[in-house]
Subunit: 269 residues, 2 copies
Amino acid sequence: MCDDELMDIELLMIGNEILIGKTQDTNSNWMAKRITKFGHKIKRITTIGDEVDIISSTLQDILKRKPDIIITSGGIGPTFDDMTLTGIAKGLNRELELNQHAYKAIKKTYERAYEKGLLKLEGMTKEREKMAFLPQGSTPLPNTVGTAPGVKIIEGNTTIFILPGVPAEMKAIFRNVIIPILKQKKGKFIEKGFRFSGIGESHIAAYTSELEDKFPQLWIKTHPRIGLSVEVEVSITAFNIKNGEELVDKVLNEIREIVIKLKGKIKER
Amino acid sequence: MCDDELMDIELLMIGNEILIGKTQDTNSNWMAKRITKFGHKIKRITTIGDEVDIISSTLQDILKRKPDIIITSGGIGPTFDDMTLTGIAKGLNRELELNQHAYKAIKKTYERAYEKGLLKLEGMTKEREKMAFLPQGSTPLPNTVGTAPGVKIIEGNTTIFILPGVPAEMKAIFRNVIIPILKQKKGKFIEKGFRFSGIGESHIAAYTSELEDKFPQLWIKTHPRIGLSVEVEVSITAFNIKNGEELVDKVLNEIREIVIKLKGKIKER
């Protein structure tokens, strides 16, 4: 396998609240960690305000660099200052049109919220309808924790994912839709581990998170097991399998040494 | 006064560690808060990796948008992967040349660190010298808390500030060099306040920070004063003086109401 299978990804964060310093953008960091773990690469993160022309021209600039994936976050809610869908449609030279799937999903979400007493206003308003007007050729992506659906659009060789700015909603759609794609196009997934006893999971937590910081391409997981033992698993999505296995072995050895130093007992699995 | 006096500012954050999700960029948020407070506007934040060609072409793209100020952060340290100065020089079509002021400042910092026993290696190395090679026409900006000096470069009508990525170093240079410029070009500074007693500073802290979140263009400060009273000051840098005064008065009234609700006693100053 070679590096050609790595996907180049650009993030486009949209929101005046970030530019004025009111909101610390943590979404891009959350996405960056996962994109890196699955062996892909963020080439650029661009943060702009809620302005149609700026969103449109910035999207066109990003498309010129031909990334495999563009992920946007923010500006798809019901309020008047949410400009992302209009800006993206303009940038792609497509019309906004009422998407029936999105309309039904939004309607259902508001109906449920009303039935639960979470909303005073029943039914669809103009503001709520707005979220169902998507650029031509869009696929709506179910938002299981909010109302504004995400959107997927293919433009040339680039797939554009339009996600909400609310972290919980962004994360839900990212997990459901984008992680499977990151996995699918990834290199080989290598996972190895061992068990230990005598000390608990919490004793090595600080060490494993330090190792994760040092090797951001690795996942390090620990699970408590029956009989008071703890299982450690180190995994990587590697394009070069030999290098990937070597790194996993190296880090597993470091963890073994830590366990021994802390008077734990290694049990190979 | 009119909006023409507002400065347009773009931030360029440089560092692979941000793109792979290892580091959460908090520098741009810190700068954004202060730029907003002094009445100016961040138009865009771009985050890229430590690659000469990408730094160079991104700088050229930003210059085409003619911001008044560009602030970069990251990639000016002594290590081989610090590419910012080379990338900026290339983007401006200028040579890197040894800057004597920067050289002397860096040398002095390392001498002091060595004398204090903080360093094993005495004198200038190739890596340390590297930080003194600046694009032609640069003005070095003293780094009072680290070694790599900041850099100021004028290109056309744009002033470029090149700052370190280490937050403490970035903040020191920003405070010493950039805040005075933000102040100088700003609108009128309006400040009003009152005193209260009976309750402490901490009682209203949650409320004032909520108000600061709601109105990011305001500063709200509280100071304990002699005789157990507390002084509240609300200030703004306003381009429209009437609107600025109205907002300050409105927020001061809200704080007065909070103080009264919490059984404090208002003492006008």
